[in-house]
């Protein structure tokens, strides 16, 4: 078993989100992985994110083996690696993915954690099974299994065994909690493997509903239900779900994907009560989810088309795609993302201006009609006489350029490039106005790029 568990050595480089043409210095890290069928290696996405070079080491084999990412899911923190030299797999058995282990049942984690060079095994039991926020992406929750078997840095991506089957992929701990490690359960692993069967990763679909408990007898009576019983309520819908028109506010979900939904919003999944969003993650992109709904005092069946949604991507951590930007006359523009605001420091929520936080997190829920596809910020100003009089030099939301409302970075470039007036007029989210002399700005543009060694004025 242990022979098929490999060490993953990675050199990676992350971008600097407020100087998006630059990168942080190269960092070294290591994790674990294991061989699955089809001569592939599975590991965590966070082990190989932003990788510049991936080298695998086999059990007690000193040779380095070069590998590459074939598929990666940053939301469920899994990745599939391909090894350049197929000899790598000689003598290695592929491991099989098993079933969700039962609470209290024993498991063994296996990998190359910090504190030594050799493979390490630790034993523990399944402590509990719940929906958990996956920290790598930051803004999504999936089913997760907690164990008291030690999971330490370097264990990431390693298998968790029960018998000779893999029942999970070790992936995170919670700082400050002792004897708690988390692993990704088979349902999530299999969802990822099925997703990539067509050679392309699509992601987990999202229902776009906020489901709340339905335990108040008055609310149940108001909807025509007995004071106690099953069913959780749809309290609100994302803009896109509302437009689909299939689910409605005050729908009571009685059953989802064949699971009865309790009044607290949980379903029974192989003996575990977990939040019902677990069931919403079972279908693949483009699939359908069967639901029994209580609406207008009648039970109806609906089949909800499930789609992958990108609308909330910028509120999660982004990986592997270098940041988009445009530099004009020393003004650095980039999309508003969580990664960008994190450049303000750990307490970015206190530092960022209110409009920025509102735009990133609240506007699309509260005023979807006024939300922008891709809000853009002025991230920095590279000093030059042409822009020296601009007071609001960074960390500002862009509203309009030359009268054009900016919905994306492309809009902004077009607004600058197609201006025939003597000045460019930049209007910020706060209402503040700044201006550049068009002719002088165009003249200075190239030399500013050279001065600050910016290879290209844009990355789209």
């Amino acid at each position: 078993m242990g022979r098929s568990v490999v060490q993953v050595l990675v050199y990676s480089q992350t971008p600097i989100w407020d100087a998006p043409w630059r990168n942080n210095s190269v960092g070294a890290s290591s994790g674990s992985g294991f061989v699955i069928k089809g001569n592939r290696v599975m590991t965590n996405a966070h082990v190989v994110g932003w990788a510049k070079q991936i080298v695998l080491r086999r059990f007690q084999d000193p040779r380095p083996w070069l590998a590459q990412v074939e598929h990666i899911s940053h939301e469920c923190d899994l990745a599939i690696l391909k090894v350049e030299n197929p000899d790598f797999f000689d003598g290695l058995n592929s491991l099989e993915i098993g079933e969700l282990p039962k609470v209290q049942s024993p498991v063994i984690t296996c990998g190359y954690p910090a504190g030594g060079e050799q493979i390490s095994y630790t034993r523990g039991v399944v402590s509990r099974i719940e929906m958990q926020n996956y920290v790598h992406i930051g803004n999504k929750a999936f089913l997760s299994v907690q164990t008291d078997a030690a999971i330490n840095p370097g264990n990431s991506g390693g298998p968790v065994f029960q018998g000779d089957k893999v029942v999970g992929v070790a992936f995170m701990g919670i700082p400050g909690l002792e004897n708690t490690g988390f692993f990704i359960p088979p349902s999530v692993v299999n969802h990822f493997l099925i997703d990539i069967e067509d050679g392309k990763y699509d992601g987990f679909p999202k229902a776009g509903v906020r489901i709340v408990s339905l335990q108040n007898p008055a609310y149940r009576k108001y909807l025509g239900l007995p004071p106690t019983g099953d069913g959780a309520r749809i309290d609100s819908l994302a803009d896109y779900t509302e437009k689909d028109g299939i689910l409605k506010a005050d729908d009571v979900i009685l059953e989802v994907g064949g699971h009865r939904v309790g009044s607290d919003g949980t379903i029974l999944l192989k003996g575990n009560r977990v939040y019902c969003t677990a069931a919403f993650q079972e279908p693949q992109d483009g699939g359908k989810l069967k639901m029994k709904i209580w609406r207008d005092r009648t039970e109806i069946e609906v089949s909800v088309p499930m789609k992958v949604r990108k609308e909330e991507e910028n509120t999660g951590n982004l990986y592997d795609i270098p940041p988009r930007y445009y530099v004009y006359a020393g003004l650095v523009f980039t999309p508003l993302t969580l990664d960008y605001v994190k450049t303000f420091g750990r307490n970015w929520r206190n530092v960022a201006n209110l409009e920025m936080v509102y735009e990133l997190y609240y506007r699309k829920n509260e005023k979807p009609e006024s939300a922008r596809k891709e809000p853009v910020v002025l991230a920095a100003t590279l000093a030059h006489p042409v822009n020296a009089d601009i007071r609001l030099a960074s960390r500002a939301m862009i509203d309009k350029i030359n009268g054009k409302r900016i919905e994306s970075l492309e809009d902004l470039i077009e607004a600058f490039e197609n201006n025939d007036k003597k000045q460019h007029l930049i209007k910020f989210g706060s209402g503040t106005i700044e201006s550049l002399d068009t002719e002088k700005a165009n003249q200075a543009h190239k030399s500013i790029l050279e001065t600050y060694s910016i290879p290209s004025d844009r990355r789209l």
């Binding site: 906020r210 709340v212 408990s213 339905l214 335990q215 108040n216 007898p217 008055a218 609310y219 009576k221 108001y222 309290d235 609100s236 506010a249 005050d250 929520r349 206190n350 209110l354 936080v357 509102y358 997190y361 609240y362 829920n365 509260e366 005023k367 009089d389 601009i390 007071r391 003597k422 000045q423 007029l425 706060s430 209402g431 503040t432 106005i433 700044e434 201006s435 550049l436 002399d437």
Partner: protein, 485 residues
Amino acid sequence: MKITKNIFAVLALITANQAYSQQSATVSTDWQKSIVLLDVTRNNHNFRVPWDKRAQSVSKFGLVLEGRELITTATGLANHTLIRIQKGGRGKWTNGKVLWIDYQANLAILGVENDDFWNDLIPAKFANAKGLKENLQVIRWRGGNIEKRAAEFSRFTVADANFNQAPRIELKASSEIEGAGQAELMVSGDLVVGLVASKISGTCSVIPAPFITDVINLRRKNNYKGLGYFDFIWQPASNPAVTDYFKLEGEPRGVLVIKPGEKTPLKLHDIILEVDGFPIDIQGDYLDPNFGHVIMEYLACRNKWAGDNVNFKIWRNGSIKEINFKLPKADFSDNLVTDRPNDVEPTYLIVGGLVFVPLSAEFLSSWGGDWQRSAPFRLVFYNSQKAKKDQKSLVVLSLVLPDFYNIGYQQRSSQNIVIEKANGKMIASLEDLASAVQSPKDGFHIFEFKKGSTLKKIVLDAEKLNEANQRIAKRYGIPNLQKLK
């Protein structure tokens, strides 16, 4: 007995005479007959538990004025229940009362009913605008004696608009005195330079004498109209490309209006060149003859009061225009988050354990000095928004007092959310809510919260509401389930 009393009277007479002689010897004043100690008991309200009151005691100082009055800062006087005054730093306490107070000016005038109180006190004299900088000292009572601490003039600033404070001129002075900010006197020689309003680290913020004397004079004439303010938002027009864009002739100068107010006739992108004859520079400052370079905002208060006329010279659509308008009163009635309700008990309405309160500055302040960071973001964000026609103010569900009646709504997601409708009616005030609760829909009370809230809807059983209300009031010891305006 009779004899003793006579002796007492004679003694009093002697002290009064001494006082008189000291007053004439102007240089040697040691202030002990001009500053008194105030002990204020007040109800401190917790706006998040609005029925709860906690008695709090505040020590302050008062300055003796002509006409048998005292002046002090307004801070700490809100919701007072008792004011006691002690002169000479020791001995008997006398009851006082507030004769006049203005929280925006941060000044209060106190009186004492007992006329004898004034016998041995000497009214202070105020410095004029030219005498505010040299030889500063902070004066207060400390352990029964007058404490004098040196202070050094730093600068004049216009106080930041924290919440809805009208702009005020402040004198900043550094001093090592500990724990100041309770209306200690800032003096220069035998003249009062101002009252210390607050002290942060080593810097005292002082309400300067010229402002205090203006307020006192107006109030004596019964002509105090309150502070005015500029209700528009501007940005410095320091970027020449911006002034070029608006084709401003001549050197860049003035400031650009970026959010016009509703009460002043300025328009978007007007460039303000002069206010009352004072040229505005590209920073947004003007040169004050008394205070040096200060921010333009202060021209709303410089010898001006709410309702006075202000003259603006502006650049609009390629030419210079002069406009005159009446300064609006700094009541901030166009703000969505309502102004600090001073001297008013917190209002609230409890419906089946759901505690509703107005979204007020005071409510936000209950998260402490750094409320802008620690209060829920969504509520803080409303503070930057103006009132709307159909919703001039907001009501928050701040807390749920757990009872089986409201089970299902006791999670954190049903706290600090803003209500939109109750039983189908738009809610802008507690009064709206109280009246909506009078007409349930088919036996239910339906509360709908703003789009995007962590909970959108709550339904309660109308029939069982009274019973639940009584049970909740009893269980949580709440004397009144509602307190409206």
